[in-house]
Point group: C2
Chain length 351, copies 2
Amino acid sequence: LVPFRKDKHQHLRYNPLRDSWILVSAHRMKRPWAGQVEKPPEEQIPRYDPRNPLCPGNTRANGEVNPDYESTFVFDNDFPALQPDAPDPGADQHPLFQSKAARGVCKVMCFHPWSDVTLPLMKKEEVVKVIEKWVELVEEIGITYPWVQIFENKGAVMGCSNPHPHCQVWASNFLPNEPALSDRCQRKYYEKHGEPLLLEYAKQEAEKKERVVVESSDWLAVVPYWATWPYQMLLLPRRHVLRLNDLTTEEREGLADIMKRLLTKYDNLFEVSFPYSMGWHGAPTGPHLKENNSHWQLHAHYYPPLLRSATVKKFMVGYEMLAQEQRDLTPEQVMYWIRVSGHCFNFAVYL
Amino acid sequence: LVPFRKDKHQHLRYNPLRDSWILVSAHRMKRPWAGQVEKPPEEQIPRYDPRNPLCPGNTRANGEVNPDYESTFVFDNDFPALQPDAPDPGADQHPLFQSKAARGVCKVMCFHPWSDVTLPLMKKEEVVKVIEKWVELVEEIGITYPWVQIFENKGAVMGCSNPHPHCQVWASNFLPNEPALSDRCQRKYYEKHGEPLLLEYAKQEAEKKERVVVESSDWLAVVPYWATWPYQMLLLPRRHVLRLNDLTTEEREGLADIMKRLLTKYDNLFEVSFPYSMGWHGAPTGPHLKENNSHWQLHAHYYPPLLRSATVKKFMVGYEMLAQEQRDLTPEQVMYWIRVSGHCFNFAVYL
Ligand SMILES: O=P(O)(O)O[C@H]1O[C@H](CO)[C@@H](O)[C@H](O)[C@H]1O
Ligand SMILES: O=P(O)(O)O[C@H]1O[C@H](CO)[C@@H](O)[C@H](O)[C@H]1O
């Protein structure tokens, strides 16, 4: 038998945050692609568009006028999936037809007054302002709601319908599936090993250096060992931090810096404004603020869809939906390509 | 407080096959869509294309020549994600860096010699031939492998890179995440209630008639109460059946008929060859053939991506990836639209 090589031989990898497995088949990148090709993102986005509801001074769908904001700007989503006052569906009749009340708030947060910038193109001080606003929102909304999901859909291919740089914040009266699962996994690991899962993971990755893309004294960005999306990234502090609002001033500045470095590399990889969905996971809030959440470690997930180029994405369909997620590249190969991308191209310059 | 109405008020619904919750926010369909628009599928697909590796008589990537097949045709995938002989990665060192051997086979199955047909456009006898080949494959490959995943990616928007009507069969030496989860859920229900989850579900749905799209004496197709994708469908026999190869001759014919009826409605809904990923889940095979699998019920999942029209799909991004799946229409509304679609339009005619 030939000896096992992870860049050559298919194998399964375990995702300890989701208690599930990924099929890694590195050899499959060789197959030709004759399938769907995506439109690359618009190159020329006007700095100000009088019809864009996210620009300063413009009128939104509900008739409200945006202020002439100069930094970040937060408002309630005009078409919220979660509202604070939905009535309760009442007691469940049958175990196969169970429903529950869902209440919450949905907010939109503009990162910058200009439509033609993205986080990697913004000044570091401007990114710090975004982080400070995130901290504020987690702090404020987290008083009542058990979960505050901050997320950014970037690029039309990720369902983003407005090119203006922005993210969303959806808070709910329930712990959604994904954080609930992550909570269970981190708790179990903590109970068994006596230390937070992701803290130990960060230590290991910092030593191995096989998957680290960018790092600083406070932060680490790695292609996780169990990455599902081709260029997936896990961004986390090195210190034990439960929530965004526990970060020190230095750590917030360090975060702005590492985000800019990471996202500049992303943009350079295929020489395109790199699409992704990203979001923050931290210890639950609201009623959970009084509990011991030492098993938690703050982190951000980046899920980018591109696979081969600016126009060919990975399709999570068929086998992935019905059986198990599968990837065509190893996280180690990917780490290398993202790391060097900053040197090869010049699409985005780190400012 | 206003009384709860499921078509008006957001709520959570429980998916008993995945032990997770879906956020249903019916009111959100009102929001305007300025996001990505998909290319509608090609209208003119040639019946025979000399460059298409799936057509009869053509040469494939590896130099093999397809026979002049007249019904179905099965061959080994030229770029398999699973191969029978991958070496074992060896014992795991650390709980956060676990890997396992993955072995299996990947096959491609053409439904018909013509590229310009789809299952709903094929004759009933031809669809019966497809079902018979599925049965054969589950029987054959299921002798050794614990899981045989039959799935069809239809349409470029679902990552399908070849318009010729075909599905794939990936078998593995492991139980993938999704069937493993479904197995646990069905077992738990069976232990608690003494009957198979999906058998009881089918009975309830057949009585309620709120979500049934097509039915016959042997089969039922419903938009499940916990549907995630807008026009998701669950297709299942009314009798307790563990696997495809347990179906009687009549049930196979009935399946061909109900599949054609369902898929014709799908095509008529937005007057387009309806894209989806679909696949079969039945009791595990291989070593599991000797176990008691009474908790299982055979079923097919249909996951179609379209939301508003032939060109606007639902994006499962951001909140969905990081927190929880969310839908903008209730399954009950959707049932109605699919049911009537066969009457309103004439894009596909039920033959
Ligand atoms: O094998 P295909 O059709 O080339 O590929 C398609 O189906 C596979 C199985 O669902 C996916 O892994 C691929 O991402 C998708 O593009
Ligand atoms: O709220 P938006 O940006 O209009 O919508 C986008 O993000 C939402 C949250 O991830 C998703 O539910 C939508 O499918 C997507 O199109």
